[in-house]
């Protein structure tokens, strides 16, 4: 089965990419006003874009564009053609919206089927999908592609560990998709309940949050399975933008559909080979929601050598961090600015000093928000104070879908360096 693009010679791939890029630029110039205006104001002539070597002439796009053109301002096709809409966290309280045509979904499926096959998941597998279902791209993305593959999909979604384990045993789950921290938690529970011999799991695909080799090896040896990494983001598509093969040495980038660039964040010039920089992605085929040079803020590097599996797609390393302050908590993207906005709304008009503390306890991310008490929040009765903390908690739950512990602290007790409170303390160690 080597007659697909994953094994193309680099020259042929470049030709395909270049042809697609020229068409993409033309399509976006005609259909996306923001892109046209930006090209015009920067005096970029789209006729000058003849191959992917000209990519660097094009302007960047970012999450701010998605926010400013919410909800459908960046869509490049008539809404009649859109068959799916997903959403993801914006940098403020408002979510960002992405859309897909039928063809976009087909390509998404194709990308994920490549990932499944590279992880040796086939139609024979019982695939328990423990990614969240809903607006998040993880759940439905995996679901549709695994269905298209012909696997027996078990849409278990997130949470309810007891039921996940019962399902795994009774339904004979052989493959699972989950965040790595949740799979680690399941591993611990399997050990605690001593049910490993009742479980037929052999493969896992994990993504949506950073993890390292130590955690992978630990999960693999404890469950006696293979665990593969997968990369994706809603703005570009969802999971499956890049995927690991059996060699487990970096994630093959689906280069016939997406072009990766690794740039020095401050200067925007390409990093030297193998160096870490910001991953910037151009979507080549997407009809509903194409993006040119989208700044992911994810830090990674690229291996250019051919992989021993024979695939010619370049590989990116695991994500090494972020260029912005985005946190990934239980697979949910969280910006401190979102929390600040919630605090402003729920704190009688005065944003209190706050600190976000993220930790990992028993393989589960915890979110604590310390709030310095202000005169406006203070009361002589406990009920009034508790109502305020409960309101903050509820607002975080409804905006981010995360439970948080709200701790009120005395004024001036949050550490300040150079007078400025340190907003985020991430105690998690990426193993």
């Amino acid at each position: 089965m080597k007659n697909n693009n994953e094994y193309l010679e680099r020259e042929s791939l470049k030709k395909i990419q270049s042809e697609k890029l020229v068409k993409l630029v033309d399509r976006m110039y005609k259909n996306v006003k923001v892109f046209k205006d930006r090209c015009d104001s920067l005096n970029i002539k789209i006729e000058d874009i003849k191959s992917i070597d000209d990519l660097s002439k094009l302007p960047f796009s970012s999450k701010i564009d998605l926010r400013d053109n919410y909800p459908y301002g960046l869509f490049a096709c008539p809404m009649d053609k859109v068959v799916r809409i997903h959403a993801s966290s914006g940098t403020t309280g408002k979510q960002i919206v992405v859309g897909y045509t039928k063809k976009d979904i087909d390509i998404w499926n194709e990308c994920l089927i490549r990932a499944f096959k590279a992880a040796k998941i086939s139609k024979k597998d019982y695939l328990q999908n423990a990614f969240g279902y809903g607006l998040f791209t993880g759940g439905l993305g995996i679901h549709e592609a695994a269905t298209a593959l012909g696997a027996k999909v078990i849409p278990s979604s997130t949470g309810n560990t007891e039921r996940q384990l019962t399902t795994m045993m009774d339904f004979g789950t052989t493959a699972i998709t989950a965040t790595p921290s949740y799979l680690e938690y399941l591993t611990e529970e399997i050990e605690a309940k001593n049910i490993k011999d009742k479980i037929k799991l052999k493969t896992a695909i994990c993504g949506a949050e950073p993890w390292g080799e130590t955690l992978r090896k630990s999960i693999e040896s404890r469950l006696n399975i293979k665990a593969y990494d997968i990369y994706g983001l809603s703005e570009i598509m969802g999971p499956g933008v890049a995927y690991e093969c059996e060699c487990q040495c970096g994630m093959h980038f689906n280069e016939d559909h997406f072009i990766p660039e690794i740039l020095v964040p401050d200067t925007n010039i390409p990093v030297k080979d193998g160096e870490v920089g910001e991953l910037v992605i151009t979507t080549l085929d997407k009809e509903a929601f194409p993006l040119i040079r989208f700044r992911t803020h994810d830090l990674a590097s690229i291996y250019k050598e051919k992989c021993s599996c024979g695939r010619t797609f370049k590989r990116i390393t695991k994500i090494k961090g972020r260029t912005d302050d985005m946190l990934i908590i239980r697979g949910v993207n969280v910006f401190p600015s979102q929390i600040e906005e919630i605090l402003l709304k729920t704190s009688n008009g005065v944003t209190p000093n706050y600190q976000i503390i993220v930790d990992r306890v028993n393989s589960t991310d915890t979110l604590e928000i310390k709030v310095e008490l202000t005169e406006e929040l203070f009361s002589d009765d406990v009920k009034t104070i508790e109502t305020i903390t409960q309101n903050i908690k509820d607002a975080i739950r409804s905006t981010l879908g995360l439970g948080a512990k709200i701790t009120l602290v005395a004024p001036k007790t949050i550490d300040r360096s150079e007078g400025k409170a340190k907003r985020v303390i991430d105690k998690r160690i990426i193993l």
Binding site: F378, S379, D381, K383, L408, A410, T413
Partner: protein
């Protein structure tokens, strides 16, 4: 009648209460009554002191969150059922008690003082007056300037 209560936010950490009391001591503030509402994460120290506004200023300067406000102060007989008359009245008029604390002074063991915060203090005051509940006059024990 009403009496000024000083409420201070105290984190649940050892030594925090004595820090507050050290400050009051430094300013020669006399505490007449005191109670603490404790929660999992913090405590609310409620006090009746002789100089509430001096106490407020001194604590605020040290960075504490402080609030001075009125609570109802009544005097009841220090005997079984002494508090019940007042509570029955509140119940009858559907007024909720948010919190209360009481103390008996060595000098007058016949009487007990009760500080109350209720859901409708104006109405509570009115029914207490009508039913002969006696009040503690804040000005007798507090300097309010």
């Amino acid at each position: 009648m009403f009496i000024k209560q000083v409420t201070v936010f105290i984190e649940n950490e050892s030594g925090k209460l004595s820090e507050v009391l050290d400050i009051l001591n430094e300013f020669k503030i006399d505490i007449r009554a005191l109670s603490i509402a404790d929660t999992k994460d913090y405590g609310l120290l409620r006090m009746i002191v002789d100089k509430p506004f001096v106490a407020e200023k001194a604590l605020k300067e040290k960075g504490y969150i402080v609030k001075v406000h009125d609570v109802i102060a009544i005097r009841i007989n220090n005997e079984p059922g002494g508090l019940l008359k007042a509570l029955h009245l509140l119940k009858e008029y559907k007024i909720d008690v948010m919190y209360l604390y009481a103390f008996v002074s060595e000098g007058n063991k016949e009487k007990a003082s009760v500080m109350l915060k209720v859901s409708d203090r104006v109405k509570a005051l009115e029914i207490f007056k009508e039913n002969g509940i006696s009040f503690i006059n804040g000005e007798e024990i507090q300097e309010l300037n």
